[in-house]
């Protein structure tokens, strides 16, 4: 597990619990030319992490780990087909994240539930899937978040 040396300014003064480097063979929509990103898990904050490019660290996005346990068969069924297409596996050992946007003016947190970022933990390879279905309803049902 090789980590980049440069970090975004945003992480200054923030304690990092775990830092992993993930290859994104197709980049991410909007940033297709960037193929390698770090995921910085923040200490004492199990929900939010920072995803940033190792080549251009100021290109960063706040991501939210899928709040649904891996036991949610329904969720995995939905993304499994796509995961299988990319990883050739049945979807085990995959972390799911959603890109989050903060609207400070309106104090809103907006997550993109129709384009999860899936990361295969064994191979440290990731893809942002573009699903036809928005997963928000399913996530709310399974995580008791309303």
């Amino acid at each position: 597990m090789k980590n980049g040396n440069k970090h975004p300014q945003m992480l200054e003064g923030i304690e990092i619990r775990n830092l992993v480097t993930v290859e994104f063979p197709y980049g991410l929509p909007g940033f297709e030319w960037l193929k390698r990103f770090n995921i910085a898990e923040v200490k004492d904050n199990p929900l939010f992490s920072l995803l940033y490019s190792t080549d251009e660290p100021d290109i960063s996005m706040i991501i939210m780990k899928c709040p649904v346990a891996e036991t949610s068969e329904e969720l995995y069924k939905l993304v499994r087909k796509e995961i299988k297409r990319y990883f050739g596996a049945n979807g085990n050992g995959v972390d799911i994240y959603f890109v989050v946007r903060l609207e400070k003016g309106e104090k809103k947190l907006i997550a993109n539930y129709s384009a999860p970022i899936v990361v295969c933990r064994d191979r440290m390879v990731g893809y942002q899937l573009i699903l036809e279905r928005d997963l928000s309803e399913l996530i709310c049902e399974n995580s008791n978040v309303r």
């Binding site: 909007g30 989050v100 903060l102 573009i130």
Partner: protein, 293 residues
């Protein structure tokens, strides 16, 4: 060097102006919620953020093209569906017309209905979407693509493709030309059926039933090819929306000011400004009398 009163006043005023400027920037930052207000405040990040803001705007433009293309494609599918429904009725007519027990008058009435259906289908073929003929190829604003003179249907459009730009280097064909609609044989088979009914020829009518079925299949195939375009456009739409969400997420982390931090800094600088103001005021108030003191 002698430090004159004017030097003190000028220096204090300059210092005061610079504090004021810094304070104004903080106020703007808090009011707009954006860290990068103008190029000089952080030129590298400003330029990068600006580039991605333009990228979002460009994607919004492509999204508008995708939305209007989807409207066009959905309209096309709906027209082809309506034509297909007419063909189902035409088949019923053909089955009735092929019945040997039906007399000439009965077939004449059926022929009139077929004639009316041909007119309806020609009307559907002349449908427009946002002021443009759907089946005219690229001559979307000229004469009506189809005309019917009671004997045959003539196509006046062309077989050109309509392209819509939906990405930086990516365009999608969104139209089905009248040529393609004509290639389903819908007009030929219907006019043949009308003639067979006019000629009171039940055998010829019976022979046409299989061809009518084939027209139905051709229309379904045509609609499924339009369905593929629709699917492709929806994928592009989702991808553009995801790209914009990612870009907006990046911009929100790059531009949104940390309010708590900004307000704290604002308070510190406000105090400095007030202090500077107070000192300057004292300095400027020095007059000849106080100078003599």
């Amino acid at each position: 060097m002698r430090v004159t009163q004017s030097i003190i006043t000028r220096t204090l005023l300059q210092s005061l102006n610079s504090t004021k400027e810094s304070l104004r920037e903080k106020q703007t930052s808090i009011a707009t919620g954006k860290r990068i207000e103008k190029p000089s405040s952080d030129p590298i990040n400003f330029s990068k953020a600006d580039k991605f803001r333009r990228k979002i705007e460009q994607n919004e433009g492509f999204l508008q093209n995708v939305e209007s293309s989807l409207g066009w494609v959905e309209n096309t599918m709906s027209i082809i569906d309506s034509i297909y429904e007419k063909i189902l009725r035409v088949k019923e007519i053909a089955v009735q017309g092929a019945d040997n027990t039906l007399d000439e008058e009965g077939r004449r009435i059926l022929s009139e209905e077929v004639d009316s259906i041909i007119n309806d289908i020609v009307s559907l073929g002349n449908s427009s979407y946002l002021g443009k003929y759907v089946f005219a190829g690229t001559s979307t604003k000229g004469e009506k693509p189809f005309t019917y003179d009671g004997y045959s249907v003539v196509y006046n459009g062309n077989g050109e493709k309509l392209f819509r730009r939906v990405g930086e280097n990516y365009s999608v064909v969104i139209n089905v030309s009248g040529e393609q609609l004509r290639a389903t044989n819908v007009f030929t088979v219907l006019t043949d059926l009308k003639n067979a009914l006019d000629n009171n020829n039940p055998e010829e009518v019976a022979d046409l039933i299989a061809r009518i079925d084939q027209v139905g299949d051709n229309l379904l195939n045509l609609n499924s090819s339009v369905g593929s375009i629709q699917k492709q456009l929806e994928l592009i739409k989702n991808r553009l929306e995801t790209a914009n969400m990612n870009l907006a997420s990046y911009l929100s982390s790059a531009e949104d000011v940390d309010l708590a931090e900004a307000i704290t800094q604002y308070n510190v600088e406000e105090t400095a400004f007030k202090a500077a103001l107070s000192i300057t005021s004292n300095a400027i108030q020095l007059n000849l009398f106080s100078f003599l003191e």
